[in-house]
Symmetry: C2
């Protein structure tokens, strides 16, 4: 048995404007329409001996995560277990909570395969083989990390230095079938190097990229944590005991969790432990760390342009253009990244995509909406998209999932006109309850308690025209909510 | 008496995506909210001895032109006269029709000041002085052109070579008050030069930019046309006689007008005539021929960036960014022009803005909507903006001008939900006529004759949700229309 633990948090500020606080990197869709999170689930769902997937995320992302998982048909045989973090506390505490959960479910021998939700792996067969080898080592009580064979002198990753020469030891790629040995021992973890050092690492034959993926038993991790980071261990155990364990999703006690030190698993455990194994692999791994990395996923045309949307190019070369439903024209430009979203546009030098995070830092300082939200906002019941907003009115497209229901609510300052354009709505409007069919409309006066739900089996799509003296999202009184928001 | 003749046609393909076929360059708004057309009207409205303005445009632009003019308070004392061209036939025929019209109204001695609608002139006082001098020459029967003193070796303009050395003759800038003489004689018109030639012209002291602005009497122009381009003259006179002259706006006979040779006033008349005077001027003229020229109108910040919208800039320099309501972020880029509109985006090298026209050529070949229309479409009664469109529904914001009325119409395939968000609507819906107030709605079933009008004195703003099996603009049967479209 092997239990994948998916860590789904990380903002991914380098991938703005697609990645936002409320729509972080795991939810970013690639050209095939699947998100990185969905690809991560699929990757583990097709591994042998997997029956349960444990996901660490937060309340904000929970419903969305569940919906995304539900669309992966390879994962239909799995059971899902969620641990919700009230705040971000880095990987060591997160993995500790996962280990405690798994230990409670399956005992200390339970083998965990820890994966960030926002990486990409191309070669599933080699990945599966590497996981096999790692699980084997983990069952012997070792802490196992996955090391990626460097293909160029990357300065943005940490490196793992092995004790043996990988080539001499015949383990340069554990995932290929003709290796003599499965893994080797970690001598030390090293920080992000400068370019000269990275070049030396590339040539050394003893250095691997630190992928942030791990494999160990719950018991081995907790034991190592207790030994090398006792404060984290103690905090995690206290938080575990203070949380309402019988609920699913398991929501961690906010105060207890917040008091655990914020530290990564590398610092807290892996760099301290003595018996750490590394499984070297070459399975097409990418951490999708920048638009430059994303651009590699789209095939280049003869001029080196990689284009995901409708474009007109005149003397453009080596550009990556990712769009929306708008036309993008480029004239006499080269080496640009152009990323277009409904409310924000990025134009960047392709060699400077790491600095996109500086845009996000500025937006955060300004408390700008484009830091947090997309024009389409996900809610537990579905989505809403602001189509237009002016002083006196606001127009939204509202999509309600089959069987879902908004809260029973009331607004003090706005009336709402609802026109159903697809599906069927059940509407509580004051004392009345009615069905509103496609191409029918209804009107909710201000001060009237109302509730919208979708009794059908296809999405309900509705256009809402709000009118009133104040149209902020905070003009809402919730009387009842099936997602715990009342 | 002096009658400005405003030629309002030209597509302005170099200013895409702001300029479109249905929204050509004269309608382009500058940062102060005024369009080039409005600025042109204002420029002539404040000249002395002007009582009437004659505008040559086409049916498509007529209502919009009238609306734009109505917002220029300096022009309230003027009477407006329109000649509508059924097709574009270049400047010689257009000016011929203007001359025939003016001759009919005021006799052959009527002095015409011919101005393109899409130029910019900064120094009104110097412009007025130059016009005075030109009108003086025109009254003596000469054909007068305005020459702009070159400030750099522009290769995109034609040049006028004068007979006298401008400096020696003391006429290098007729608009300044301390010149001895008012104008000089044109030796010849010269085509767009190469860079070396343009540099020589700049230093010659005898060359001026050909601005495309002219002054002459109606009689002198028609006489010169008859002499130098008899086919144009004959065609223009025939078209004049075949048109319904008593109507305003005066619509030219389509077949007759189309048969006039397509030729510019420069080729047909000015380059052939012997007694052509040029009034040299330095009144801050620009033909706003490219985004590079437009960018000069916005002040640069310390990094040379010129920005008209909300931006976040990280190491960006010498960029021009003109936006809409979206946020634009630029990272590590220089010398770019970024022009953002609701449905199309342009990213161009600032030194290649002339090639924007190639984008438009491609769009025209593709018969792409973004060649013709903006998301906001102007109609005689106001505007509509498509906010969202999907297979099953379409959402529009409709703005109806005070007193305006859409046609009495019917759709076979779509029903319409109307929600009034500002102003008051009068609605004919089948047999009923009702008033719909702000925050009220009504429903027009398919197959029902209906009419929307604005009985009030402020704009009516309405959200329309269309629903049906076919939502094309061509599903419309017009029973009656106050703009002649039924």
């Amino acid at each position: 048995m092997l239990t994948p633990v998916i860590l789904s948090g990380g903002a991914g500020t380098r991938l703005w404007p697609v990645s936002r606080e409320a729509h972080p990197k795991p939810f970013m869709q690639l050209a095939d329409g699947q998100s990185l999170l969905q690809k991560t689930l699929r990757r583990v769902a097709v591994l042998p001996r997997v029956q349960r997937v444990l996901t660490l995320t937060n309340r904000e992302y929970f419903f969305r995560t569940r919906d995304e998982y539900a669309r992966i048909k390879e994962a239909r045989h799995l059971s899902f277990d969620y641990v919700l973090e009230p705040v971000g506390r880095n990987t060591a505490p997160a993995i500790a909570m996962a280990a405690l959960r798994l230990q409670a479910l399956e005992g200390p021998e339970a083998v965990m395969l820890v994966l960030p939700a926002d990486h990409l792996i191309n070669d599933q067969a080699r990945f599966a083989r590497a996981v096999d080898l790692a699980a084997e080592q983990a069952r012997e009580g070792r802490l196992v990390t996955f090391g990626i064979r460097p293909s160029y002198p990357e300065t943005g990753f940490g490196y793992i230095e092995t004790s043996e020469d990988l080539v001499l030891a015949g383990v340069e790629d554990a995932a290929s079938s003709n290796t003599r040995s499965a893994s080797c021992t970690v001598r030390r973890f090293v920080e992000k190097p400068d370019f000269m050092t990275a070049t030396a690492y590339l040539e050394s034959g003893r250095h691997l990229w630190n992928s942030g993926m791990f494999c160990f038993t719950a018991g081995a991790y907790l034991e190592a944590l207790q030994l090398h980071a006792p404060a984290v261990h103690e905090g995690a155990v206290a938080c575990w005991e203070a949380s309402a364990l019988e609920q699913q999703p398991l929501e961690l006690n906010p105060a207890c969790f917040a008091s655990i030190p914020d530290i990564s698993v590398d610092y807290a455990v892996m760099e301290q432990a003595t018996d750490v194994a590394v499984v070297p692999g070459d399975f097409g791994w990418s951490d999708i760390g920048s638009w430059s990395a994303v651009s590699e996923l789209t095939e280049a045309d003869g001029d080196g342009n990689r284009v995901d949307c409708e474009t007109v190019l005149v003397d453009a070369s080596n550009c990556f253009i990712r769009g929306n439903d708008r036309l993008v024209a480029a004239v006499g430009v080269e080496n640009l990244v152009i990323v277009d979203t409904p409310d924000a546009l990025l134009v960047a030098n392709r060699d400077r995509t790491q600095d996109v995070k500086k845009v996000v830092e500025q937006l955060k300082l300004l408390d700008h909406e484009a830091y947090r939200l997309h024009r389409t906002v996900h809610r537990p019941w579905g989505t809403y998209t602001v189509l237009e907003e002016s002083g006196a009115f606001k127009i939204k497209r509202i999509v309600v999932k089959p069987g879902a229901s908004l809260s029973l609510q009331m607004h003090h300052h706005r009336s709402e006109h609802w026109v159903v354009v697809s599906g069927m709505a059940r509407v509580i409007n004051g004392e009345r309850e009615i069905l509103v069919r496609k191409n029918e409309s209804t009107y909710i006066p201000y001060g009237t308690a109302h509730r919208l739900s979708n009794p059908g089996v296809i999405d309900l799509v509705m256009i809402e025209v709000q009118s009133g003296e104040y149209l902020g999202e905070d003009d809402i009184v919730r009387f009842d909510d099936q997602y715990g928001r009342a």
